[in-house]
Subunit: 180 residues, 2 copies
């Protein structure tokens, strides 16, 4: 299938914002025609689901401006410049929930929108939890909630948790813990 390849001819920076860094590239299609691709270049992110020995997941509720509502999500955040994903997972977990974890287990990568961004979210399961004080960023507002993982799995399967990375990390973490 190497004949599916799209070749970049040129790249134009459209916008550099706080979150979105947008390019429009001219490309050559497999059939020889020219076209364009809009791509949001992203530095990467992490999402980590802490689960207590009693089977409770530590989740956050925060306001999501694109949907004008509060959403229930697994703790997550962007990588700092030069930061390794595992270090970012521990940092975001501590900042957003105050949780420190004795064990962090990789659950694989999650690409949120392969059509128009190169963003990669690294997923982790955190075990062996110690609860300290949360310390979110100055302009970050969120509530922490402890919810049984079994209930979250049912919520995902019945369509009550719309955030994509959160649906995925809940189902993957539950499968991983069932297999132990």
């Amino acid at each position: 299938m190497s004949d599916f390849k799209e070749t970049r001819l040129s790249s134009e920076e459209i916008f550099q914002g706080r979150v979105v860094h947008l390019f429009r590239d001219r490309i050559r299609l497999p059939n020889g025609k020219e076209s364009t691709r809009e791509v949001i270049r992203h530095s990467g992110a992490v999402c980590v689901l802490p689960v207590t020995d009693e089977g409770e997941a530590v989740m956050v509720r925060q306001y999501r401006y694109p949907f004008s509502c509060i959403m229930l999500e697994a703790p997550a955040g962007k990588l700092d410049p030069g930061e390794a994903p595992l270090a970012a997972a521990r940092r975001e977990l501590s900042e957003e929930t105050g949780v420190e974890a004795a064990e962090i287990i990789e659950l694989g990568a999650f690409y949120p929108s392969v059509a128009y961004t190169d963003e990669v979210i690294h997923l982790y399961l955190a075990r062996g939890l110690t609860f300290l004080q949360q310390h979110p960023d100055e302009d970050e507002f969120l509530d922490v909630a402890r919810i049984p993982l079994k209930r979250l799995v049912a919520d995902v399967l019945e369509g009550r948790i719309p955030d994509g990375k959160t649906q995925c990390i809940i189902l993957k973490a539950a499968a991983r813990l069932r297999a132990e």
Copy 2:
């Protein structure tokens, strides 16, 4: 938690492309300070996993420019203007794979990136399949593959399928079929 609300003060259109429609809004934070939010407004999309009576899922492989590689995904696509999600699911399924389905089952909504886009992907499971000829868009290049759903579930859990919507729809469809 109504005090988490972010209030829009103004909105500026930054870019309207073929896929990305980007705005930068000025907002008021819960603490009274002003800030900005970058939002990609999206018309919505569908993703549909067809599964045969023998437990094989019909998947597509296509080149994804942001990652410069071919990816294995469930059939998916954007809503046409004014199109209902269920109609779009049947259309995309037919165009990309040539499959017609006697039964389409809702698997809920999937929000790929709640921080910066209002995109909603409606997920469906398709059963009772008839295989006809695929007829993709003129500039769309993809291969169809029939793969046992059980193998796909293992691939997701072991981190071998990075596309987010595809991970989610495989795990949700498998849970739904196990429950039948």
